[in-house]
């Protein structure tokens, strides 16, 4: 059985490392690159090189920033400095931004506490967060971490560390998914939702 030439295989092998790309898809993508009439594959290669060279974590919040500048969110004067949203990784900023409701600033921890994986408080940007709360003096810190055991542990730990700094620590409400009926909600979620009831029409 004959195979593609080595340089095409190398390209496909590289593409296969991207998340969600299997062997077949990688091969189809490699062939599409070869067949391209315009120069977009070269532009793509340039874009990859430029992004990898320029993008680094924002020196303040840890989100993606270009060069030595702060990220776009930290530089935006219209952002509300009174609310700081703590997320696990820079990726987690995007879904919150897409929701279009939050207008404050962010702080990316770079992971979550997990003794099993040997990740302790010193391995995360927790010290930097405490420093920012002291310097920037936000009124509220929102812990937008996952609701798994590690996310909750990290939220509780940070809330405890922030206790002496007279800042309100909150987290996104937990409850019923929009458009769902009661019998599809699991007991833990339903229990939380009933604990944190809201006034109707408020």
């Amino acid at each position: 059985m004959s195979d593609l030439p080595p340089s095409v295989r190398r390209l496909a092998d590289g593409l296969r490392r991207l998340p969600g790309i299997g062997a077949r898809n990688a091969q189809r993508m490699a062939i599409a690159v070869l067949r391209a009439r315009e120069g977009w594959p070269e532009e793509l290669a340039d874009a990859i090189r430029a992004a990898r060279g320029n993008v680094r974590p924002c020196g303040r919040c840890g989100f993606f920033a270009e060069g030595d500048a702060l990220c776009e969110i930290c530089r935006d004067p219209k952002r509300d400095g009174a609310v700081l949203c703590v997320v696990e990784t820079a990726n987690d900023v995007l879904p919150i931004e897409r929701a279009g409701v939050f207008r404050g600033r962010y702080h990316c921890l770079g992971g979550k506490l997990s003794p099993i994986h040997n990740v302790g408080p010193d391995d995360l940007a927790i010290g930097a967060l405490l420093g920012r709360v002291r310097d920037e003096g936000p009124a509220e810190v929102v812990m937008a971490l996952g609701t798994d055991v590690e996310g909750e542990t990290t939220s509780l730990y940070i809330a405890q560390q922030l206790r002496s700094l007279s800042v309100r620590v909150t987290r996104p409400a937990m409850g019923l998914p929009m458009g769902g009926s009661l019998d599809v909600a699991d007991a833990l979620t339903l229990g939380r939702a009933l604990q944190h009831r809201q006034d109707v029409g408020a």
Binding site: P121, T153, D186
Partner: protein, 338 residues
Amino acid sequence: MIRELLLRDFRCHGRVRLEFGGGATVFCGPNGAGKSALLEAIYFAGRLRSFRAATPRDMVRRGAPSFEIGIGADGVRLGVVWSAGDRRLSLNEGEIRSAADYWGTLPCVALTPADVRLIGGPAADARRFLSALASQLDRGALRALLRYRRLASQRQALLAGGRPDRGLWDSLTLQLRETGAPLQRQRRALVRRLAVHAARAYHEISGGTEALSIAYRPGSWDTDMDDEVRAGRTLVGLQRDALQIAIGGAPPRRHASEGQLRSAAIAIRAAEIAVLRAAGAQLPVVLVDDVFGELDPARRAALARLIPPEAQLFATVADGRWVPETLADARVVPVPPH
């Protein structure tokens, strides 16, 4: 009701396909013929573990890379494929990722000679029994238990790593309690129901006058980090739960006879079936492995009476004469030696 059992490379069985009607099925054959393995396969498809002290690796037929169990029941098909490091579960041909979504589809209760460990054995056996029963009754309890176990292992890793960060220990302890305390309340209520059924069943099977009593002793939440660091493990919560069992008012470990222990073990399993039945959930499949043979005819008949007639029963016996008379219309399936 189970209509069909398919096996590949499970224990000594290469390929097996068995069909069942309603009522009782008794597998009859000499030791080592693989009749217990048939019950074990049904149990594994239901609970994802063995009722014997065995790991899935022990259940792979010698020389084979994996085993497969398929069950066709009313309205549902279950599939398990196990190979080293990989377990695939399916429901109605669709793959199931999380065991929590699979568990409880085929409730099973197994009666085995090893059940006496529930009474005289290590407290861990009684805890496992309670966890499994609570999880069969309520999938939410299973999810909460999985979360609890994750918390416990995070806490264990923290304690094993030398001097823990106090704040991190506090955060994990708080959650352990928040997750564990509601589970303990559930278990307390569950054991209360279980005890009523077990007392009745014990009376039926022993014919005696002494009473079987069961009480739940929840593990305390009082804890001290230094004590736990010294011990190197968690000293609170569900890991410290115990079942306090007494026969005729006395703790059985020292005072009970072999016959009393056996009767009490059967009574607890009968109570497990009764609790599942009363909860209005699906009636469990009842698996009786090698138990009829070790009972005298009176207790054999009593056990047969304790199993609800509408429950599907699978039993193993080495000798056809051990089938209780009340199960006279059972289908006896000979399992020849290999």
